[in-house]
Symmetry: C2
Subunit: 187 residues, 2 copies
DNA sequence: GGGTCTAGACTGACTGGTCAGTACAAAAAG
DNA sequence: CTTTTTGTACTGACCAGTCAGTCTAGACCC
């Protein structure tokens, strides 16, 4: 059950669809309004600015991802937890491809006014990976770095998957990512 | 030794510096001209359009990365080749941080007119990883997917490193990434 | 019932600024 | 004399954001 419904919802949906195709800067508020089937004024009635609109879009999206990772980890530990989180993240990517593309394109940016918030939520998602890694590797001091590495692996792997071999199943891709992390490439 | 010198070079340098801070759309041609210490007319004399300017910037950058990976792989094979490539890629990222940030921010976009060229060069870089993986895992059909996964791991790991623990050495980070791929997280 | 008022959602023409790209004449540079 | 660079002024498109006004549903009164 979506927390946002009605006009707000259709504006957010339209914004996501358009931005995943044309980028945020390539999407005008007029475009969003037309796609959502409302007047431009309504967009501004519901969101004070373009920045705020896309801020909410991305924050909601990454927040939901963090929540998914949290749930996937629940009750598990070690390699099992990591595997579950990777599968869950791939499922999120597959289930909301436009969002995944948008996140990938925007997460490294440093030029937006709301980047601070985005970084916060991003680190929240990363923290889930960090916690699991710390658990199994308490002696290492680079758990955060490794979490970033794993996150990047899954994100880029996931996008690669959807772009170039969408016929594969989540299961296969999950297995492929785990294989990549299994040491059999570096042994 | 740069293939491009003089006015062209200083325009490219200025464009890179500004765009890594403010994004491509956040960088005006006027800005670039001022930073390069050159008249706006000269920018357009040397580059027919803003798109062409940034196209060359990114294509050169990723092309150079692909070339670096090629060289790192030379004469090696298997895990040794992969390790060398990861280290080399991290060195490129560390040695040209503005470029790395720009590449990370732009590589997933699909909204620019020259995206096709960018994708081509990107796949060229990925192909280096793919080749090494195919070599050691000839029976697997997901070498490209794994290459994307490794590329993402190194790219995101590298950016994480520079952003949040720049005090670490390339050696340390390289070791950390290899540890992540070593199977000790998933065993 | 009918009349009046109010509040919130929504509208779309309009404004003001920004910026890519142009024009051009004159000056360096080689 | 050809190529490159300069400086400045200009144009035209585009677009974020505004605002005066419309629409609707419900509340309150007689």
């Amino acid at each position: 059950m979506p927390r946002v419904t009605g006009t707000k919802r259709s504006i957010l949906d339209a914004a996501l669809e358009l931005a995943s195709l044309n980028g945020i800067t390539g999407t005008t508020m007029e475009d969003v309004a037309v796609r959502a089937g409302v007047a431009k004024g309504s967009v501004y009635y519901n969101f004070s600015s373009k920045d705020k609109l896309f801020e909410q879009l991305l924050l909601d999206g990454i927040g939901a991802l963090a929540e998914t990772l949290r749930q996937a980890r629940e009750g598990k530990s070690g390699a099992g937890a990591l595997g579950a989180m990777i599968t869950a993240m791939l499922e999120v990517i597959a289930g909301n491809q436009p969002l995944a593309k948008l996140i990938a394109a925007e997460i490294f940016r440093t030029d937006r006014s709301w980047q601070t918030h985005l970084q916060t939520v991003r680190r929240e998602a990363l923290a889930e990976f960090t916690a699991v890694i710390r658990e199994t590797q308490p002696e290492r001091t680079d758990a955060e770095l490794m979490a970033g590495t794993v996150f990047g692996a899954v994100l880029v792997g996931g996008i690669e998957w959807l772009a170039f071999s969408p016929e594969r199943s989540v299961r296969e891709v999950s297995e492929s990512v785990l294989f990549t992390l299994s040491g059999r490439l570096t042994a």
